[in-house]
């Protein structure tokens, strides 16, 4: 019995570690490994769409600074909100972000990805430049990754710029527009987020 429990503990430990999705701490290699892992998952025909989504979610939770993105996208309104409301927003944003991300990625078709360069902007930020190689279905795409490196051992993605267009900024301006059209009522944004999460 003891041996069985020991084996189970070992198995759980191995499973947890194999799913922790930790990559190299060098931002350039980090992106190479992370995207390589995501592409491998997405192009694996033996995995169901739901399982792919779960795996992509796990990769995102471990390697994207969702908390900072949620605050950035809320803009100046965040300074006027109570702590409880802010917490509720963060929870809703996380669900919205993950659903939106998996929905965008699970239809992925096989494309070649290359990391071109990395530029350390400051102690806390490195920009990694990459590209998706031109294919018959789409022209070449340049992608710039904003990597937060305050903890050098654990880099986190904060933004993606596709051909110079920032995903975080687009999201922020979308939220700002919803708030502006509704007298900065955060509940309207909450209901729109809930509507998206539940659809």
């Amino acid at each position: 019995m003891r041996r069985l429990i020991k084996s189970l503990v070992c198995l759980i430990f191995i499973l947890i570690n194999s799913n922790s999705f930790s990559y190299n701490s060098d931002p350039k290699i980090f992106i190479e490994e992370l995207v390589g892992d995501a592409i491998k998952t997405l192009s694996d025909k033996s995995i169901s769409k739901d399982d792919k989504a779960k795996k992509i979610e796990a990769i995102a939770l471990a390697n994207i600074d969702i908390n900072a993105i949620s605050m950035y996208t809320l803009g100046g309104v965040r300074k006027t909100l109570e702590q409880d409301t802010l917490q509720e927003y963060k929870e809703l944003f996380k669900k919205y972000f993950l659903k939106s991300l998996t929905s965008r990625l699970t239809d992925y078709s096989d494309n070649k990805f290359e990391v071109i360069s990395a530029d350390q902007k400051s102690e806390t930020t490195t920009i990694v430049v990459s590209r998706i190689v031109e294919s018959s279905s789409q022209p070449e795409l340049k992608i710039e990754w904003r990597i937060y490196t305050k903890d050098p051992a654990k880099p986190l993605i904060r933004d993606l710029k596709v051909e110079g267009l920032s995903i975080a900024r687009t999201q922020k301006e979308e939220f700002a527009s919803i708030l502006n059209s509704n007298n900065n009522d955060i509940n309207v944004l909450f209901s729109k987020l809930k509507e998206f999460i539940n659809k």
Binding site: D65, N67, A68, M71, Y72, S100, S103, R104, D107, K121, S122, T124, T125, I127, S136, S137, Q138, P139, K142, E144, R146, Y148, K150, R158, D159, K161, G164, L165, S166, R169, T170, E173, E174, F175, A176, S177, I178, S181, K192, L193, F196
Partner: protein, 246 residues
């Protein structure tokens, strides 16, 4: 009206209208949202189905169409490079046009790209932006889509600066080349279909995942114009992100 008078009036209007307004400001949001809805319906019923059909054509035809329309757009790019003092880029675009129009069989092939010649597209709106004119307020035009005061006036000015417009829209003969309105609108139509087809999955994805498509398109349009005016790939927004450093 002479071209000189038109340019002076355009510049004066842009200056007056854009000094106090940033491009993020809406000119008349309710009307723009209405037009945006109309444009979405137009896209759903007409443009998207045509683009979907176009995407089914052999890749060589799609590439040829894209090359042909972008080669014609070079005629507008060259004078705008010159107006912005970008002599090297003006030279590269001119060489690209000459090579593609001759060796590239009227621009259907793009041998200039293989030679490493840059051919980024420029218009009068970008030139005005490079001179420091703000976008002015943002609005949506029927069929033509998102724009700003500066860019819409620039779009009218484009037809005076662009030799292709002179030949086709105004039916002037340049170097024994002449054309008609139909040629102009056919090329504009082909450009729109080619663009829509290239962005088929991107726009479908955006529509599926956005909470407010109108403001997402507005943000993407304004970012794209900023990038084109600055001729930069990245913008600096470190200050705001640094607030979230723990």
């Amino acid at each position: 009206m002479s071209i000189k008078k038109y340019i002076i009036i355009t510049l004066a209007s842009v200056f007056i209208l854009s000094t106090n307004l940033k491009a993020e400001t809406e000119c008349f949001e309710k009307v723009s949202r209405g037009i945006f809805k109309f444009n979405q319906s137009f896209d759903k019923v007409i443009l998207r189905p045509i683009a979907a059909g176009y995407k089914k054509l052999p890749k060589s035809i799609q590439n040829g169409t894209g090359n042909f329309t972008s080669n014609i757009a070079t005629l507008l790019t060259v004078p705008n490079h010159i107006l912005q003092g970008q002599w090297s880029l003006a030279g590269q675009s001119s060489a690209s046009f000459l090579i593609n129009s001759s060796v590239g069989v009227l621009g259907f092939a793009n041998p200039a790209k293989k030679l490493g010649l840059k051919n980024q597209q420029e218009d009068v709106g970008q030139t005005l932006g490079a001179y420091g004119f703000n976008g002015g307020c943002y609005f949506v035009m029927p069929i033509l889509g998102p724009t700003t005061i500066r860019d819409s006036l620039g779009m009218i000015a484009d037809t005076f600066v662009d030799p292709f417009s002179h030949i086709t829209l105004r039916e002037h003969e340049i170097f024994s080349v002449s054309g008609s309105n139909i040629d102009y609108f056919s090329v504009q139509g082909a450009t729109a279909i080619d663009f829509r087809a290239d962005n088929m999955s991107n726009l479908d994805n955006l529509e599926k995942n956005t909470l407010d498509m109108y403001s997402a398109i507005k943000s993407l349009y304004l970012q794209s114009r900023e990038k084109k005016i600055g001729n930069t790939f990245s913008s600096e927004d470190d200050d705001e992100w640094s607030q979230f450093n723990k």
